[in-house]
Subunit: 249 residues, 8 copies
């Protein structure tokens, strides 16, 4: 249920077309959509106009299709994250109207073009080739959340000339997501080039002393640039979520 | 040197009142203020209209006074962080026009009233009594950076009624800083109550398995609320810095 | 051998129907049931009237069936934990009278209805969908141990309205098991709502900085609620065991 | 404000002796006692009949005396934990009626004899001489919370004869607190001897690989005895709190 | 080449039957046996009269057979550790005279009965069923190194009666190997019962906070029994090696 | 009470000179010596003929003097470990007959010359100057426990010529204690030179990535020499204790 | 594009044979070679005369072949690291002129004989058999980078005689790469024998307390030899890269 | 004893002016200088022509003066590291000819001007003001070891313009030492700008998630620049030592 339908219901109550008890019943069930495998809370979506998000790992294609179908019936757009190609293929076979973004490991049920809503653009910057899946997740989510998105890849700090050549792109963004594994130094460098909030996403890319993203995480938390905040390792979705909230301010 | 003085210089060049070489010399030295103990980069301040910030620990009262005096001569406002009462007293004795905020461990050289600049207010929320110094740092910095600041203290998650009673304050803020030690659960709960960016500050408060703030830090990084980003342990300053950037969007 | 059989033996000795030597022999072998793969100590079961518990991982279907058969011959109820569907199917094929709880990963040999013994009920509360297997283990074990069990799922702290709507269920329980992964904040919130012992079970659910349950574990150990104690990561069984002991006081 | 005063207020409302507005005002301020340094939540105490507890570290003698005085005025008993001898002496000089337990690092404002309330006794068992302060905190808190307390010290697992000689004391308790540093093995051994809940308290006692209590903490979390739950390192207070709740069931 | 052959060579030199150059050549190649995959140092075996030991993991059946064959040609006994059943079967098919101990994951090329050499016996004690593979490695290695070995299994510290019932076996041993996972408390308890050196072997048995043997390792390193030393996690071989050296003193 | 006095008591019982009840009373109190601050277990000393050992840290000079005096009255020799010069001076002023070893941080109450009991000598080898206090503790304890002790200092692995020049000393010892901080490589090198048990003692010497002895501890646990076992960081006492047990075999 | 082609272009500009715009276009695209899967920066190769290096893991045979082909077209030599035998076979089938070094897990596209460029030789020394793959990577990379390479294997510190027998080889090298897992002591010992820079490579070889190379890493960082620097765990490539730079000085 | 004196001795032997026995005696004692507190190995100095280095921490002024005096008598130059101003003042009072560098915490006994020996210069680059002591140690040591040293301070990665403005200085150096705390990103950026070996020194500067230098250490070990090797946290001395060896190649 989205805001428009809610408004219609309340208007009907006001005009006496719907009696209080019936409206109450509808409203009481409103924030939850029950599916065989989960009770989905649609409260936030209601308030935000954001699509519902389903975290893919640990769910079968059947469960995902069920949840998505229930949400579609409730007129919600649905975004599935961290989906494997195999599961995506199965889900799309079960539920029509799906769009698969294999680079971002995303599945989308909703309009092909999401209307832009934020005041500016979100830049998604990544350090190395291996950071691309997380960057693609962040970019894909930001795009489906209605943001204008700019991307900049392969601009690791050991090759500054590539990054500096794109500093205009960075400066024109309203908020910047920086994705980096290994030593995670890129957010500090980007943070020093711009005066906008930088959301740093450490990735689990690397081996040995990268300890599955810990080196990058610690590096970002101790960044010498003051405009950097950090999300969990590989959490491209979370970065895009917060960037969207900021972009809508 | 602030924006106004810079504009005047450029106008003088345009009008031919200042020749290119002299202006070049001025501009070349512009981003740095040299003091006996440090070369202070005033570039960012220039771009942002923010005061210069001096990190207090490891500096003597003499060094702090020197740096602040040099910056004052360059017509910059100055904010010193993490200052002890003893050092603060010494610095204020050496350099007039200082204002000391002992709770936030801040020293301020600038106008008593900083004009408000952001579009809304920043809420600073903290969990326990022991988290107050970090919350006060965040609030004090946000205040000196020209934000409207609302504070809410002692609203730990084991006593939800206090927090819920203030949910209006939370909802009316444009960005929320949440300061918590021990298990660091408050950002998740606050994040679930609002649709604004939440900046979580873990504190080193606690003992045993809190490991100097690590428990709170990990809890915040793995928050089940999607609108939470995290800064370093005890980094109230950094949270206020980013919140300011967001509030000015 | 259970308490009733033991009492019968002792009565027989008292009445002179069994001579001392024969009884001694029986009693000497009493606490152990030897199976080809293990010597099972039935001492505790004797004292407690609890079923024997077999930890499934690392044991083949054959070994589990053997142990369970030996215990069944000794008139013990048997509960197997952490069993996979494949092994469960094999064991049930070998040994009749088995009941399989796939959600809780439990196998049960005993009466369909275990008589209730504790003075009140045990509530099992969990935060997210991914915490369900551990919650189901805790609930299933508590049920087979003769407790009345109430469950409450998907009440993560970022959606407080769900949890608060069920606070009556929480308050009516005699002891509460709270299962949560990621930041593990739920026990603190539940602990603040009730005046009963809360047993917190961190789960290995999460990624990145959750470090396989460490974030949740540390969060629970440093809980700001004083009525929380903690068991090992994913240890739903242990939580149910202690809750049973408390419920029987 | 305690339950008796609350009941009197409600009776007055019922009898019409106090009008609704005045009662509302009183009740609205009820759960909080404001002091110059903190807002103390007396809600829990109201529900439980437990004294208010003030965590000593980080508070000056002046602040503690202020808080305690405010609570005393609200007719609450007060227990201060982790107090140093110096601060205790100062507080007692400022506020009469104080009782100091230096071994348990506790300060008590309340009746000399707290009436017993639980159904049985709490045993406090500790491993080595260096664990005594934490054990004394647990025992002292349990005592002031109205429990019968039995103590057993210096029964480390490398000298089993001492522990086994006291197994009767262990078996007769309703709940057992076990305090141990270094390898933290005592809870496992005690847990194997009794069929009651065991609350394990790791201590920061030890050096080198004890890592400030981490070795003991991990040992207790991975205990092979199923009746063991764990609290934070050195948290004698928390163990006594939960034991009290269990003993009152 | 063993001591007897070496003595014969030197005697031949002394008697003039072998000229210096030829003997030199023989001796120079003596401590190494070259195989296609490795250069095996037989120096230690020469000094100790111990069989050569080949660490199995990471080697193919072909490589192991090659190395063992080369050593057999050099008249050395050979013990292969950590061998899987599949590789063992393959090696035995390639090289006759092999004896496979699947519980201890050992392969043996040498006499069926190794003559006893130490002054007393080595006891191998283990805590739980899951510790058996490591205990069997320790016992099997000690046996092949010529020691009398006594074993005692399933004597975890939560069931002291089993351990105490076997204290005579413990006291009669010259050196004791104690194998335990989870909290690793058994060495402390055994160490308190005997006055002999105890070699503790932590195992990677357990889950959650056992961290792959770290909990047991830390517990053993911080043991309150003074007669305990520790080897690496799962290192049953190392424990047996040192126990052999002690038993031969 | 030592073995001789115990034998006399038992003889008196046998001869009827002491009645059973009186002897029972004496024997029941026998393993404990009660002092105002601690109950000392003299059981082990009785069995071993070793002096009682008091761990100094956390005890006042008064407490140490009290315990030592009580033990002296019970005719025990006493060794105090980890004592500071200040406390040592105080204790010696209170209780005559004390001998202070400041390098080993030991205090000794007993005969100047302890009769040698082991079959051979114990070598104590240390890597750097900063490891000397732990080495001196090990050597001092071994000496007071009646062992012949050889010491070899400053033989770090980066200067092999010093170590190799003393290999005869190493080979002639019956058991070798190796004390090293930083990378803790010395036990591996020594272990490769001898065929005797090597007890490795990591020290907390070092900075940065030595993490208070963790680097050395891990290095010793993963030693490529099979004859190495490990004790806790800085535990010179424990190494000497086990070495004594081995030397007495 | 290599230096020679660049010089030709610039000469053509100077002679007026290529106009500025065309040259500008060529130069602007110069440092990057775009392939379907990655933008490869050839800047460094240009400056250094080193081959391009492609990190194999996470790339399909198709991607690797694509990148290599594009670089070959740009007249670069190409070295692929960490390649599995399966992927290597596929790549070689797609792109002719490939040379596969399975021990070093390297693939080479370039001249069979790379001309020597450094002033001396690089010694690659390794401790155990399991360290060989990393050592072979280091040696193979150093060889393809145009260095004279000497190797020395199986010289672990527990068997010093093998290492000392080769000290001449060590002393004659200009820079030494030392590869070791487990306790990682070999760099300290080698560092003590030579006066040249030693680059230490910890390997993930080992089990238990080796923690995937952490023990070796910490040991190398805290080495008591001052001439040791360290690279990441298993980073044979990085060691060879730095050694090459040093050898070319 | 330095090379010149050694050569003279050997010449005297050759000419028969010194008999073999006397020379042998001299040579045998040659690599060690015995002082009351330590045996100093002068072997390396002999080979390298480097001054002797004394690690200051843990040594009294008296001990340092003793050692330095002994070395001075043996005609060695002496460099003391990590010396506090208090100890430095005391040592200089006891032993004339001392030079104190308080920024680098160094004490020097030797010629005011050390002749330059390396082929080029060593650049010492540091990120923040707080990294200066470690950078000064590295620069001071490199200077006393006979290198030309260039320094560049306050060039943290969040302010790239300062660093880029000095890229010429970086490119002209033969080897570069980069000192950085917090996220430790500077070596990656510098490594990308130059084609020379970069030695990274993490510092313990920072708070919270910098964990005493661990964040910087991990960042440097996982650097995306291939020309970076790492030394221990705060080990400015070690970096200068290796840089000297490289500069002398």
């Amino acid at each position: 249920m989205n805001r428009d339908r809610l408004r219609a219901l309340l208007d009907a109550v006001r005009r006496g077309e719907t009696d209080t008890e019936a409206a109450l019943e509808t409203l009481a069930r409103l924030p939850f959509v029950d599916t065989p495998s989960a009770r989905v809370d649609t409260h936030r979506s209601l308030r935000q106009g954001l699509p519902e998000v389903v975290f893919g790992p640990g769910k079968t294609a059947e469960q995902i299709a069920e949840i998505a179908a229930a949400l579609r019936r409730a007129e919600q757009n649905v975004l599935v994250t961290r989906i494997t190609p195999e599961v995506a293929t199965e889900v799309c076979a079960k539920l029509p109207g799906c769009e698969h973004d294999p680079k971002g490991r995303l599945l989308w049920f909703g309009p092909g073009e999401v209307p832009l809503q934020g005041a500016g653009s979100i830049a998604v910057v990544s350090a190395g080739t291996a950071d691309l899946p997380v960057a693609a997740e962040a970019a894909g989510v930001a795009h489906r959340f209605g943001n204008k998105v700019e991307t900049l890849h392969d601009v690791g700090v050991a090759g500054l000339h590539r990054l500096l050549a794109s500093s205009e792109l960075l400066r024109s963004a309203r908020v910047i997501i920086v994705v980096a594994g290994m030593e995670g130094a890129l957010p500090s460098v980007v943070g020093g080039l711009v005066d906008k909030p930088v959301i740093a996403v450490p990735t689990s890319v690397g081996y040995g002393a990268s300890f599955g993203g810990v080196a990058a995480l610690l590096g970002m938390l101790t960044s010498c640039a003051s405009n950097v905040t950090v999300v969990n390792i590989d959490n491209g979705f979370g970065a895009a979520y917060v960037a969207t909230l900021i972009n809508r301010l």
